[in-house]
Symmetry: C2
Subunit: 474 residues, 2 copies
């Protein structure tokens, strides 16, 4: 690998310049007026794939969408293959080429769509720098390095780049499911580089994600909003009932109060327990992130276990009640409470919905209210956990050790990355989350950055990962 | 009085025509672009007062206000005197010449600012018909009738007409307080005609209003909104704490759960109990008004006592939480819960605020939360109750009996009419609420109307009330 590392180091400035090129394409998927730029970014990638000799380049168009009152085309899901030999394993890599919105006046210190490298800090600023432009183009520079060195790529590579990740990945799942038996039929493992190190010092591999079940609890009484002077004290008020029910779901210290909800939660094994040693994380990280000292748990282990592998329930708000500044003495006629449960193995969305409904039904009966209620759970995203001893993870672990001279943290995420589960279920192969950036990169926030170190060592990491996948015992 | 009644009946069509004239002036005080019309309505009244020989006509200008981004002049509070003799009692009458907004497309069957009289139903439609244009101009027709008949008015009359009642009566209190010892110094009693019969069949006199204390309960944790995937289960969530506290304030059946809150509530006396017999009201009225069957109490007595003379607590909503349609998995950083308490004699806003704060403090402590809270109660409007045996009420009762051949219901209102208390406190004289319209007039709603019967008999009622005030034993 030494020659590859040397090549990468020698071309580091070029990689940074090219990152500047893609940051300058404001491929914001959530803004109809920017849609042309998303397409431009897709075209840029296709040109690069062509230049590098990828074959079977296919742009899958998922159709149209309604956005901000316009009907516009969805950007393509780009598939491409780099074939290196039928005897070699096939690695599918996923990334997204769209970005979050960004405006200088939101608090950016530089123009968000102009790359700025701070030499003194080593930080490269720009929207999309870490999420997810550096990771996706890095795969290209790996292929380019092997070509330049006259070496065969150790694996067959398939890329899957989408342009709608920041806006719900519209159309992606259908394409993955359709292509599972065709374009993706030889895939042996999947690697997604679209999350972050746990801290700022140490690389990690991510092996788990929580699921999410969303609930709408609607309570109705009068046919229209009432004046509290005229009706207060004489009618059952839907908002009063809603506060009663929703207050019974979770305690201030985060304990879910729905009977049976913890029954399906997998027990913490000894092997799992050991993964919580020496993590690159301290409570100060969460205090800095929230700018408060309002953490519930006193240890890193407990805090991360409650983020990663125990369920949580958050109340989000109410539709139909008074929400503006000032004082208004309305009795709302119909209110919809919103809450969600982050789920973990071995909970299922179906069982969670059942338990929530049973509980809400029982609590509503206790109120003795003449109002009526309805509870709906539109969709439940399942949790995901991978076997950290599978060869895909072993290969990645070895790659980290080679490039960074340290063992990676093995982490989970508290949120969901739905495409992970789609790949897992559609292909039935091991999926690995291999992050490139750091926890303080500010993806989705102002002053998004990636450190030059993370970017350049990240390219080496991806190359080494492919080498290890080729040689690891399967 | 027969000659007065005859004159009124003979001129009924003329009174209706003139009502049409004032309905056609869209004096909406809540819309900056309509402010000229409010002034036009004030000018119309001043011209009438002049024509009828009122003296000391004064237009008090309270200054300017900011409305919809414009700085505009507040409409005048108009004072005028009709002197009939120093030995006669002086009656101060109040009304307002501004109206609520109205648009045909809101669901009006006729143009809201064009009067339409339905001959078959006897209803006169138009914005402001019942609230409060018919009542205020009726006082003018009483004076006009006495003049036409060559009779002296039995009392000295002072009118106080404002143009900002529908928009918070800005500037009015200061003027009343300032004029208490000057313009209003000889006032013996006050009569306000700006509310409605309890039902649709029987006139009423109104002797009580509830007060209102508004509360803002703010709970803060993190410095910014958090993602529930990343932070759910690891931090104390302000919204969870808010639901816990607010759910403890009131039960589904309207019982306020704050210890001590009922201690100052006046006991129901036997005399008061008797006022709840034979009221023109049934539970069907409240079911029709709310288009639901969600009433708490089974009897008219209990229902009206809880509207009029017991306190109630309503939750209104939350500022800072998610309120839009759809699903969003935010943990709000800072939320402000809004609720209000309708108060009754002998509760005071000060004592209510104290009890609420003590309770919230105790409940917040129990949570064991690291979040912080703040509770504010910006202003408390006091409740008001009059002595129904005072001569002002006796005079009005006799007047109703003469005009309608029935005894009036003695009612309260669950809401507040703040000017009532201002007059009471600034002048120290008996204040009477003497409604003209019916409960189904739709003030503030679409298709506002007044029945021709209520308008014309109402003019007779006001005239008779003045006669009775002059002769009643004081
Ligand atoms: Zn991303
Ligand atoms: Zn993102
Ligand atoms: Zn009014
Ligand atoms: Zn009004």
């Amino acid at each position: 690998m030494d020659s590859v590392y040397k090549h990468i180091d020698a071309h580091a400035d070029e990689y940074v310049t090219r990152l500047g090129e893609v940051i300058a394409i404001p491929s914001v998927s959530g803004d109809a007026s920017m849609r042309d730029h998303v397409f431009a970014m897709g075209a840029w990638l296709q040109a690069q794939l062509k230049r590098l000799g990828f074959s079977d380049i296919e742009a899958h168009h998922p159709g149209k969408q309604q956005l901000q009152g316009k009907e516009i085309d969805l950007p393509p899901v780009i598939l491409a293959s780099y074939k290196s030999g039928t005897e070699k394993p096939t690695v599918l890599v996923y990334g997204h080429y769209d970005v979050q919105p960004a405006l200088k006046e939101d608090g950016w210190k530089y123009e968000p769509f102009t790359m700025v490298e701070e030499k003194e800090t080593g930080r490269i600023y720009g929207r999309g720098s870490t999420d997810d432009k550096a990771p996706i183009i890095s795969w290209l520079w790996v292929v380019e390095a092997y070509q330049a060195l006259g070496k065969d790529l150790p694996v067959n590579l398939i890329v899957c780049f989408e342009g709608m990740e920041e806006s719900g990945s519209e159309g992606l799942d259908e394409i993955i499911i359709k292509e599972a038996g065709r374009y993706f039929k030889d895939v042996d493992c999947v690697c997604i580089s679209d999350n972050y190190w746990l801290g700022t010092e140490k690389p990690c591999l991510t092996y788990g994600l929580r699921g999410v079940s969303y609930f709408f609890l609607e309570i109705s009484g009068p046919a229209k909003d009432l004046h509290s002077g005229v009706f207060g004290g004489t009618v059952h008020e839907p908002l009063t009932d809603l506060f009663h029910i929703m207050s019974k779901l979770v305690s201030s210290d985060g304990k879910i109060l729905i009977p049976g909800i913890y029954d399906d939660v997998a027990l913490v094994t000894e092997a799992e327990e050991s993964l919580y040693q020496n993590l690159d994380f301290s409570l100060a990280d969460i205090h800095n992130a929230t700018e408060s000292q309002t953490t519930i748990h006193a240890s890193v282990r407990d805090t991360l276990m409650h983020r990663w592998r125990f369920p949580s329930l958050s109340l989000h708000g109410i539709e139909g009640a008074f929400y503006a500044p000032g004082a208004k003495t309305v009795i709302p006629a119909k209110v919809v409470g919103k809450f969600s449960i982050r789920s973990v193995p071995n909970q299922t969305p179906e069982r969670i919905a059942e338990l929530v409904k049973t509980f809400v039904d029982a609590e509503f009966s206790k109120l003795g209210s003449k109002n009526t209620y309805k509870i709906e759970s539109p969709h439940g995203g399942k949790s995901w956990v991978a076997d950290v001893n599978s060869w895909n993870f072993v290969a990645a672990k070895k790659a980290v050790e080679k490039v960074f001279n340290t063992s990676p943290d093995l982490t989970r995420e508290g949120g969901s990355i739905p495409v992970t589960l789609t790949f897992q279920e559609a292909l039935g192969k091991s999926v690995l989350l291999l992050p490139m950036g750091r926890s303080d990169d500010g993806a989705h926030s102002t002053n998004e950055k990636i450190d030059r170190y993370n970017y350049i060592e990240g390219i080496k990491l991806l190359a080494t990962y492919l080498e290890e996948v080729a040689t690891v015992e399967k």
